[in-house]
Amino acid sequence: MKRYDLVIIGAGAAGLAAAVEAYDRGIRSILLLEKDKYLGGILLQCIHNGFGLQEFREELSGPQYAQRFVDQLNERGIEYRVNSMVINITRDLQVHYSSLEEGYVEVQAKAIICSTGCSERTRGSIATPGTRPSGVLTAGLAQRYMNIDGYMAGKRVFILGSGDIGLIMARRLTLEGAKVLGVAEIMPTTSGLTRNIVQCLNDYGIPLYLHHTVKEIIGRDRVEKVVICPVDDNLQFIEGRDMVFDVDTVLLSVGLLPNNPLLEKIGVRLHPRSKGPLVDGNLQTSIPGIFACGNGLYVHDLVDKVSAEGRKAGRNAAAYINGTLAAAEAEFKVPAVGGEGHTLPEEGKFICIVCPRGCHLSVDENLNVTGNSCPRGKEYAINEVTNPTRTITSTVAISGGELHRLPVMTSSPIPKGKIFEVMQEIDKVRACAPVRIGDVIIRNVLGTGSDIIATRNILCGQSAG
């Protein structure tokens, strides 16, 4: 049986950071295992920007963010396998994985880091009533179909839940020509980031129904209608207030759950609230030598925090391997992660997105700002009224590549009013593999001074399907 000092399961944001950090702490015998074809995990389908402000002091798209870590991994020559799914781990630190290239493989580790991520809560987990047609899917699945596979999952869409993935998908679908009829959130406040409420819903006039939820899904083969109804403070439907929407798709963005079947199988207990494994202050589980981090531990709000936690796990696993890991000084507390919890502003006001506080601002015709708590809010308000700009992310078709879609974004923000015109330009072009991050796909799009640039490396190759 092959031996490694450290085996890391899952090459998303947490696993990549853990591998790099463990290497930098002197561990040379590392194996990073990834079930998918590519390193990077779910970041690869998150083509929108907003990642990396803490890590890199830049706003990156998901694939760009992942590539920064993949580059660090490759610079160090850290060993990894893709297409390799871990089937079992054992209490004495064996890892069994199955892969297309190597078959069934057993390796022995001195330490294991589980960075297995999370999965989306499904219709079944929230018992959404109604029939069982196709067209009811999680927002993340629709995101994958759209951004990786290049297909629309719906044309007339209602979104249940104000989680960030749902908000991001509301904008993505709208930019690609779908009609998003609304977003319903059962709670009285939003659960996603305020910035996403503003830039994904408000920008496109997509209604947000707070304190509403789905009463019934209707349709035999494909979704035909969805019935939305307001709820009272006990979350019970208020009779007689049904709203019926003709839709072909219902997207669910109703939360994420850590994914830890490997740990559960060997008797690691789960945290009752986070549903991740119980760990100590060193991120070590009840089994010595097994560490957990990232969204598999609890669901984080920012990927930058996932990377930081991955580094902590990598550092501690390295210390464990070297016999220098100190006893955990404090127990691990699952941070309270939730939405910024905003209510909707009154007519004519808008939410400030400069900080999480979310002031409700208004601006009069003389550009006097009220409702702000700081000068930055004032500047934001005036900008939003006089010259609002946005960064646009999308995909373009690509020929001769190992994938069918190349994620792209504007190199600098463009005027908000030009978004759809720029989208038309993006739809017209076709890139040719190979492409590298930063390659200009359209120069000075529509004279805005902004280029459309690639945000993922795509090699030449035969793509499936």
Binding site: G135, L137, T395
Partner: protein, 475 residues
Amino acid sequence: MYDIAIIGAGVIGATIARNLSRYKVSVLVLEKNSDVGDETSCANSAIIHAGYDPHPGTLKAELNYPGHMMFTKVCEELDVELQRIGALTISTSEEESAKLRVLLDYGIRNGAQVEIIGQERLREIEPFVTKKAVEALWAPTSGIINPFELVVALMENAMDNGVELHLEEKVTGLRKENGSFRIETEKGSYQARVVINCAGVASGEINNLISERKEAIRPRKGEYYVLDHFPAPYVTHTLFSVPSAKGKGVLVSPTTHGNYLIGPSSEFTDSADDKGTDAPTLSQVREQAFRLVDEIPMQYVIREFSGLRAYHDSGDFVINSPVEGFINMLGIQSPGLASSPAIGERAVGMVGEIIPLEEKPDYNPRRRPLYRVNNLSLEQRKALIAKDPAFGQMVCRCEQVTKGEVVDCIRRNCGARSIKGVKKRVRPGFGKCQGGFCEPLIMEILSEELGIDRNRINYSNRGSFILMEKTKGEE
């Protein structure tokens, strides 16, 4: 001209098709859905009932016990998962205990293996039973089965032996013409000497196309919760409530894959298309389940579903021939699955009175076993991967299914054509993510195997497409 046409490819139609495939007769099966076993046969409790519940003297009583015993052979021949884990009908009061004794009497008269066991033995057998339980009726031969696999396996084996299956052909007309039958469907027209009506919830309508004696089948809906498999110990037997006028009541049972079913409710519905679930009914199901167990780990709920029982007003199975050469299988609701092998034998007997049945010398009762990579020993697994690396490539992390198994289930007779078809055959999509991770991969494999674009892959029936057009024009 076919010798026999079977309308409906649920467990009854598929069983009869397989039983007839033993003989030198031509058999056509017409199914309105895009896959076999897509109605009642795929949405039920998946229990092989032990035969103590039906009232003695009924057809149900006659066929249940022998039918459920035949499954040992059927499942062995067809490589279908069956576990005789035993059933416990739980009494929590004197009144219920009196009813248990009625069931005991029924069981004995029906030839079933049953006994009443007291507190101590009950808790020893099933530690997770409610503290309120006072005694139970123990039926050790009761089993759990994989109903999806069963219907597919029956039809696959029938097709291996020459039966023709036509999917997506709803029967729209049926008449007698010069001593044989003319069957009109959405797509074509067929002639057969014998017609067997196995249309389940729609069997009343089929009967009414040809028979003077009109029949009404009323769909009675049952809603269920499905729990994910989890490593902690939980219920290991099928736990039933004491039955009421509405049926066997809510049960809590493991499935052959270590999931748990909780349900069903029992309410008549107006529509044979009504596959919905609703919150009030499910909350009643949960409440009733607390008569059986004190703890339900609801955090593991991964799905809710409903199925329709084909209820006939007699409350019994109705097997008759109102027109010469036309055989009805009406009202085959619970214990229809358990009785199906015996129903199949009965049907063959009835056909034999019309058409002489001569055995084929080359009939093979066995289907090629599934790979079941997850159940293989390490050596077997490595050997299989060495033959075909696709058995090393995992496509479903929740249920641990390989690409090799998915490809195999598409390439067999009665192969999968849809996401649900693959799910029913080899399980990707049954787990916690409910297809969130594996669906795009299954779609890619289906698209490759069937040679069609991904946006033409359906979830199940025609019209249940998943993807629409490509985001950027045509390529």
